[in-house]
Point group: D2
């Protein structure tokens, strides 16, 4: 079974989106969620079938990732501050953004894979760590609201 | 219900990894795979509980992402070429790498979310597009093997 | 003669700044301007004296550059839009910014050097090219003012 | 007097390179070295004449810089380790590299300028600081040779 088949299944899965409307303006979520493991496996097959494994060394992929982050930045570079939800962006601009976000994601997943790391597991671990580092307290909320944190500090997602 | 509860559920889920042995050297995969939607939802709750939504504008998050890509690059910067699988890296170095990869991922997921884009769906769409752009043919394989592609060209993952 | 001597000469040269005041708030310019060639030579000596040439391969330096761009981005990441001239920034924040801008510059100069490229000459050539690509016409001004340029296009400095 | 005039003077200055032979394999240096102040001034004029100041906010320029770093990375992304001096690179590849290095430099100079910082002065200051932080001693040389420094540490240029 080829990668393209798998990919097209993915595409069709995407099209089978739930029709349920959401009251808060969010798009309805897919019935089948996209997992990091699925992306990892497809990318591994994609490279294998094209004999591209020879190019996928960690630092090659890292530089490719940096290149994609550059393309992502270019989309935002001359716009000044951009509001959440991208009001007034054209459908074409949003599609372009989705592609660049995806390129960053795909190289990231591939980089983790060739390094032998489980990205999904690492991400969950980091969420736990962030939760401990930044507990939910009224004090921390106030501290952040006052922007008392030094510039450049590591404010977690 | 706090974020930490959800996160710790995630952590414990991670610990319930399948006990299946690795036939091919890969670690056994999680029973419950990590989806982009799960990460998106946790991050949204994380920010909401800490009243950090006010900081999560698209360009703020993009610059935070660039910052994390910088930290990721620093791990690789003085090592020369790095072999796949990271032989000879210490456990500590690998853990550090997993954290930086995760930070990039988490900001990417959060950025897509505040932009109102479905990252998983976009990634699947991009995989389909890449599959069409680079079909599996002996010609394309040869072309790549000979490195006849111009430097900087967009070799997809 | 050691690098440190040369560097301290540079430092003292900096302190010999012209005392002339500027009406528009800009700092008075140095009597002796800093050239890219001077930076190149000092960095080459700096690395040679410390036997760091062994680490300064092009891709090592490129990743170090990316790391510094990340640190530069972190300074700006949670601030929202920043006004020109950095009003209300503390002296400490400005000093930090100057250091990160410098780190990017120094790695860039060093990268060009180990690649055997003359960065100053290349920069002047690029300015000429940009001048031809974007001639000064009322049409181009209007075009830009209307933001009719596609997102991500290469607006030159 | 227009920017283009100044730029073409710069170009012609470049062509008046010293005819001195290279004793050590380095290209002969320009009679007139390129200073950061010259670049700053030309870029300021360039933007003013095209009425582009309105786009040159600090964060816009920073994102443009990140975009150019991405393009710089793309040149190196699929090559594996690259030797100093870029042996076997075509003239075209080298020219492309010179352009991307220049783009990063020009945005960096422009960013410093709109922030009101003197980049040349800041760079000299940073060199002094690096000289103090990493004195030339046999111990430090040995330490680095043994790669005992932790990954990602701040090895200065």
């Amino acid at each position: 079974m080829g990668v393209c088949v798998g990919v097209e299944e993915g595409g069709s899965a995407r099209e089978r989106k739930s029709k349920m409307e959401r009251a808060n303006g969010r798009p309805a979520r897919r019935e089948r969620e996209v997992s990091l493991e699925e992306l990892r496996e497809r990318l591994a097959n994609f490279a294998k079938e094209r004999e591209w494994d020879q190019f996928h060394s960690p630092r090659n992929l890292l530089l490719a990732l940096v290149g994609e982050v550059g393309e992502l930045s270019e989309i935002f570079q001359w716009r000044g501050e951009v509001a959440r939800g991208l009001p007034n962006w054209s459908a074409s601009d949003k599609e372009h953004l989705g592609e660049e976000l995806s390129d960053v994601l795909l190289y990231l997943v591939r980089l983790a894979d060739v390094c032998g790391l489980d990205l999904g597991s690492a991400a969950l671990t980091k969420l736990v760590k962030n939760g401990h580092k930044y507990p939910v307290t009224s004090q921390s909320q106030q501290q952040l609201s006052l922007r008392s944190r030094p510039a450049g500090d590591d404010l977690p997602v």
